[in-house]
């Protein structure tokens, strides 16, 4: 499976378009991490707990997108985009989407 955020892959031609595939994941932060984040809000610096949390949930959204692409029989996802939005206080949605295609 080739995943790329380019619209074309050098040296490969698109055979079939399947249209949009997407995956999302909504996560809430947990209390322990929140306390650490509260401390870091005084001292400044990187919030590693949050970085990891968001990476994990983004990975999950990405995996869901790949599952969808596999389900339609694609061998590549092009023009992938990520987006983040906060749904409610303390929860964020991570969203990944792209175009599923078959490359020659």
């Amino acid at each position: 499976m080739i995943v790329s955020n380019l619209e074309v892959i050098p040296g490969k031609r698109i055979q079939t378009h399947f249209g949009l595939v997407q995956g999302s994941s909504v996560r809430a932060k947990h209390v322990g991490r929140d306390i650490m984040a509260g401390l870091k809000n005084i001292f400044g610096g990187e919030l590693r707990g949050y970085t990891e949390l968001l990476q994990e949930s983004r990975q999950e959204a990405y995996d869901r997108m790949l599952d969808q692409a596999k389900a339609v029989g694609a061998n590549a996802v092009l023009n992938v985009r990520f987006s983040t939005s906060s749904v409610a206080a303390g929860a964020a949605e991570l969203f990944a989407y792209g175009t599923a295609v078959i490359l020659e």
Partner: protein, 148 residues
Amino acid sequence: MIDLIILISLLALGYGFGQYAEKRHYTSIRKRELILRNIPVVASRIPPQGKPNYDSQLVSGSVVISVDYFKRFVAGLKGLLGGRITSYETLLDRARREAILRVKREAKDMGAEIVFNIKLETASIHKGRGNAIGSVEVLAYGTALIPN
């Protein structure tokens, strides 16, 4: 009175640790930027034509950085007067450069030569009291071209 003492000590703590953390972070960013300089990251959307022997792979890097108490306080004051809020400018600058460095690091580990179509996304994660921005997440992602 106690409130005032707490406020002042929080400000002092924030100033001390915040300045130290920022200086250390900038030193480390500059050092790693020099090391990873041989992997260009470009915003161009069109990959090189006529060189088909590349594998492409999505790479990403993200970071969540928080501003310290002192800077948030100063930014709050600036909010009344208007004008540049330098404390948030450095926060965002650090976050972006760090995220791009993580992209480069991942690309280098894959043996990539160049990263195309870099996208940067910023989201404010945690809003403190009075809707002051506490921390921001910056995500950078792009396509690494790996010669095969």
